[in-house]
């Protein structure tokens, strides 16, 4: 045997190990099934005569999902099993009624639709990407990311392995300043960049339970990503994965702990100087709210030498302009200005706010981000309770529940695994081998408004009677 060829390969394919982490708090039934009891009884009597008391035939039920498989059959349906197929209504329209349950319909808030909440719950609990039969069932387009489609390539595939080849598509991104030229004399003193295997980090959230942060920290370690926090007591055991947001109070502590990445309020140039002077091996990122002049601010900060910009909108993805725009719009503006000024490659852009579904990741990257930060999605995955609107960063109404950190970690690992898989689906459809090539590639996307104007040109407007 040739000893050269028999050596085990050191190559390990990147994969995120998902495994079931079922809901610990009961989730609402999606469908509400009910039977008119008198009619149901009458139907049973009728069928008993029709089928001459043949029990097997009389009691054979229309539901293949076992909703009427309980002791009391249709009199007490097992509602949690209903998938809304409507066959019982087709067979017995005078007896059966199926509708979306009230608890389901009131889930979430004005931004988080019940469907989105269910999607995140299912992704976090199963670790499997959502697959359904028949076609798309939702709205045609919409605002923000909903009004955007990604491109596909008819004949180019990044790997020849079809669905098995997804491991060969890179989703790694770098955080930090990249040298723009070969530096023989070691003139560039920038710290080396840090790589994350998936272009997603956990963003900061206002005060939260210790267990939640333990789950976040542990998940960040398992996934090789980072979590941002303004409170450095959170997830302390996972400090190497922490990106502290530094303010006056935490400056000394931060300088002492020397994190690999640090964030600060982009308006505090004094802090920036202190950090750059004292933490020469750390990647320094400025947090900048997205608003009218964010592009100019971003250029100024890039020129001053920050290594990255964390651009954020509110939790519903609206920026902080007088007339708020969706993060997709404002992100594009900042990215394009940085490109125009020749500064884009000097900084990493992290985008957060309103990144709540898997498709938002590639779409935010197309709009110009290198990677994204997720926030309320983390809490939804951990079955937090909606108590009102979740829009405002300071006062969002989403109450975390008590969790077991190990369970929470698995839920977040599952979420990342599923989002990673879906990112790969998008990249492979586009024929791309590396997520870094997607950044700012607006040409590989299609906007509802633009396509509509082009394709419906010449069609007169009218009002419906």
């Amino acid at each position: 045997m040739d000893s050269e060829t028999s050596k085990p390969s050191k190559y390990e394919r990147f994969r995120i190990e998902t495994k079931p982490a079922p809901h610990v708090y009961q989730i609402p039934n999606k469908f509400d099934v009910s039977a008119k009891k008198l009619r149901l009884a009458a139907m049973l009597v009728h069928e008993a005569f029709e089928y001459k008391l043949n029990k097997e035939v009389v009691l054979s039920r229309p539901c293949i999902y076992g909703v009427f498989g309980g002791r009391f059959g249709g009199f007490k349906p097992l509602k949690h099993k209903c998938v809304g197929c409507m066959r019982c209504v087709q067979e017995y329209p005078h007896i059966m009624a199926v509708k979306q349950s009230d608890e389901y319909k009131t889930l979430g808030d004005s931004f988080w639709t019940p469907e989105a909440v269910f999607t995140i719950w299912n992704e976090a609990s199963t670790g499997k990407i959502p697959v359904k039969g028949m076609g798309y069932k939702g709205a045609f387009g919409g605002e923000g990311f909903d009004g955007m489609w990604t491109d596909m390539s008819e004949i180019v595939r990044p790997t020849r392995d079809g669905v098995y080849g997804r491991e060969y598509i890179s989703t790694c991104v770098d955080i930090g300043r990249k040298p723009t030229r070969v530096d023989f004399g070691k003139i560039d003193q920038s710290p080396s960049s840090v790589q994350v295997p998936v272009p997603i980090i956990f963003d900061d959230l206002p005060a939260l339970e210790f267990d939640v942060w333990n789950a976040v920290g542990k998940a960040a370690r398992k996934l090789g990503t980072f979590f941002v926090t303004h409170d450095q007591t959170r997830g302390e055991d996972y400090r190497e994965r922490m990106i502290p947001i530094v303010d006056d109070n935490s400056l000394d502590e931060t300088l002492e702990k020397r994190p690999s990445i640090v964030e600060y309020d982009g308006e505090r140039s004094d802090l920036s100087e202190k950090l750059s002077d004292s933490l020469q091996s750390s990647i320094v990122i400025a947090r900048v709210p997205l608003r009218e002049e964010s592009g100019l601010v971003a250029c100024k900060l890039a020129r001053e030498g920050v290594h990255g910009l964390h651009l954020y909108a509110d939790y519903h993805g609206q920026d902080y302009s007088e007339d708020p725009k969706h993060i997709s719009e404002s992100l594009k503006e900042v990215h394009q200005l940085l490109v125009k000024e020749g500064l884009r490659d000097q900084v990493t852009i992290i985008a957060s706010g309103g990144i709540t579904l898997a498709e938002h990741v590639p779409k935010a990257i197309i709009c110009g981000a290198d990677l994204v930060g997720i926030d309320t999605t983390v809490l939804v995955a951990l079955q937090a309770e909606f108590l009102g609107e979740t829009q405002k960063r300071g006062t969002y109404k989403l109450r975390p529940r008590k969790i077991d950190p190990a369970w929470g970690t698995q839920r977040l690992v599952n979420l990342f695994g599923v989002w990673h898989d879906q990112l790969i689906e998008i990249l492979s459809a586009m024929g791309m081998r590396d997520v870094r090539r997607l950044r700012g590639d607006i040409g590989r996307s299609m906007m509802d408004a633009e396509l509509r104007e082009h394709s419906f040109k010449g069609i007169a407007w009218a009002t419906k009677n």
Binding site: V89, A97, K132, G135, F140, G162, S428, S455, F456, W461
Partner: protein
Amino acid sequence: MGNQELIVEKHSERIHHGLEVLPTLRHGLPAGLGNKRWTAELILATYEMALTGDLPKNGLEHKIGDSGGGFDVLGWKNNGFPKVDQDSVDLSISLNKRGEGRKIEIPLPIYGGGMSFGSISLNFMLARVRAAQKIGTYTSTGEGGYPDAIVPYRDHVITQVATGMFGVREETIQYAPIVEFKYAQGAKPGLGGHLLADKVTSEVAKMRESSMFTSLYSPFPFHSVYSVEDHKKHVDWIKTVNPRALVSVKVSTPTDVDMVAIGSYYAGANIIHIDGGYGGTGAAPEIAKKNIAMPIEYAIPKVHDYLVSEGVRDDIVLIASGGIRTADDIAKAIALGADGCVVATAEAVAVGCTHCGNCERGRGCQVGITTTDPELSQFIEPEWGEQRIVNLYTAWTKRLRWILAGFGLKNIRELRGRKDLLVRYK
């Protein structure tokens, strides 16, 4: 009759009865039925048309859904009363506009889209091919091979050649009046196909020359095609095996769909079939359906205009699919620039589909459409299904004729590219 047969008969009768009763709205509009694209009313209107062969008389909405865009925000200019005799309106289109090759005409601008054996029941497949034969149009095998049971209908069956090459044999290509290359599918563009293990029964495995109860993937893309020249070789291959066959090329709707279309023309295709993202599929990741590639409403004018500007529009047939639900969608697609449409989901709705999306769960479709379960498959008797599909198209024919007659058009070919007859609503 044994109990199993009695059970099938019982539920079959009940389902069929329900499809008759529900559109009467005697029990109201079922609250849990439908979604934005296929609203409850649209589903019930389709049941009604499949029952009567006529448009609903009780005001059920049969023209548009509630998606808030695309076909659903387009309407017709007020065209008043018919200006020509509706019965004389010609709905036929040609499927070969090239100077050479076989001339094929279909009496209405519709043929059936690919739904493969394995992803749908044999009974539903039979219903579809029988309906195609009765109408004088075609339906496509999809990628699951060519069951013996449909060979008698082969003059109305399009053989699909897709990347998995399942069931593609010399004889199935030679049977075909039209061979369809599936490069991509709108609902899962760029992702290939996936038949879940549960559906790969012994018959399905035999047909696809694979192992039982093992998931089957059709890769993406064709591994032998990396250029228009490679694609031309494919077309030439089919034309060598079956010189009489017309060739259709089914593609998705990327940003450069117009270039793809011209490439297909160059390669010798007779039909360029563009499939938008909002159409049907067996199982597909939700992320793909909603987010990848453009809706068909936007792709049609892009391709039509480009083919016109290249001076080849009258040499190639442009067929649109992926979200065509109603007769009005068809007429709008044609007014936007298509020659005709491919329809699949509406045929499933005609036989009882609720667009619930549970096709891949457990035993498959509860009413026997997308399933290989021996009991459930029996809910669709081929003759019954055939008649329902024929009825649906008969009703659509009436609506199409009404639209055309209102504009004084005697021929559906005159509607092509007439965006000026459309209006759009805010």
